[in-house]
Amino acid sequence: MAVVFQKPQALLDVPFTYCPGCTHGIIHRLVAETIDELGIEGHTVGVAPVGCSVMNYNFFACDMVQAPHGRAPAVATGLKRAIPENIVFTYQGDGDLAAIGTAETVHAAVRGENITVVFVNNAIYGMTGGQMAPTSLPNQVTQTTPYGRDTSYSGHPIRVCEMLATLEGTALAQRVSVDNVKNVQNAKKAIKKAFTYQIEKRGFSIVEVLSTCPTNWGLDAQESLQWLRDNMIPYYPLGVYKDVGGTTK
């Protein structure tokens, strides 16, 4: 018998600190599988955000730098410019990337910074206990929108891939989901493509992964996947928003 599925090498043997059923773990694994398959762990540096995944420096086996809230793309820029022969990725949540770090995100894309951004969108601030995120949906109830997000008062959710797709420097902007086996496999392909584009020096690549937060959504793991399908995917359609094309499939 052969092992057909096991923990990737690029993940350290440390239990995740995420809540039961939180799909951060799946996304971590996909990044690690990508690193394994491309054989790049030894020359990859990851940048951890502030948010639920702040401690992902404990999970990834490559070198890691923890960035101030929202500044991961700027930190990654400094790293990539300093050691361009290395692969540099950021792993960021929606508050980190699309609220406090919007400028850093947009301008890294504007510069065509040759880095890969893994953007985990679960429409809520998880670590601080479930406040409205820039990507929280209209009418979504959160700790800070207790009557539902009123878009006329709190603004509209931001569609990051669509926005970044308008920028010259963006090589790949793709939205995926991890709500079922097929979508997880597609997400993996997208993440691998994003890393490959960096290896091929194509510029800024971002994969937005729709993800769950069972704890702060107040649902169980399975219900959360259903909520994602019913509510997030219609507002954040999956697909490729920009792809400069490449040798990789």
Binding site: M1, A2, F5, C19, T23, N180, V181, V184
Partner: protein, 68 residues
Amino acid sequence: MAKAIIDETKCKGCGLCVAACPRKILVLSPDKINSKGYRPAQVVDQSKCTGCASCAIMCPDVAITVER
């Protein structure tokens, strides 16, 4: 003959593997509680496993190894 091996110490009992398995051979343990305080997933009928790895693909805690 395929095999899904669940590392009960890593399992958080979220049940995503249970729902993902097309052969419906996984359950959350009715009686066991692991060291983290969760009811770990278990394979009830290993002989029916096809080794498709659907469970492992959906497991957020990388608790499942699949052999085929």
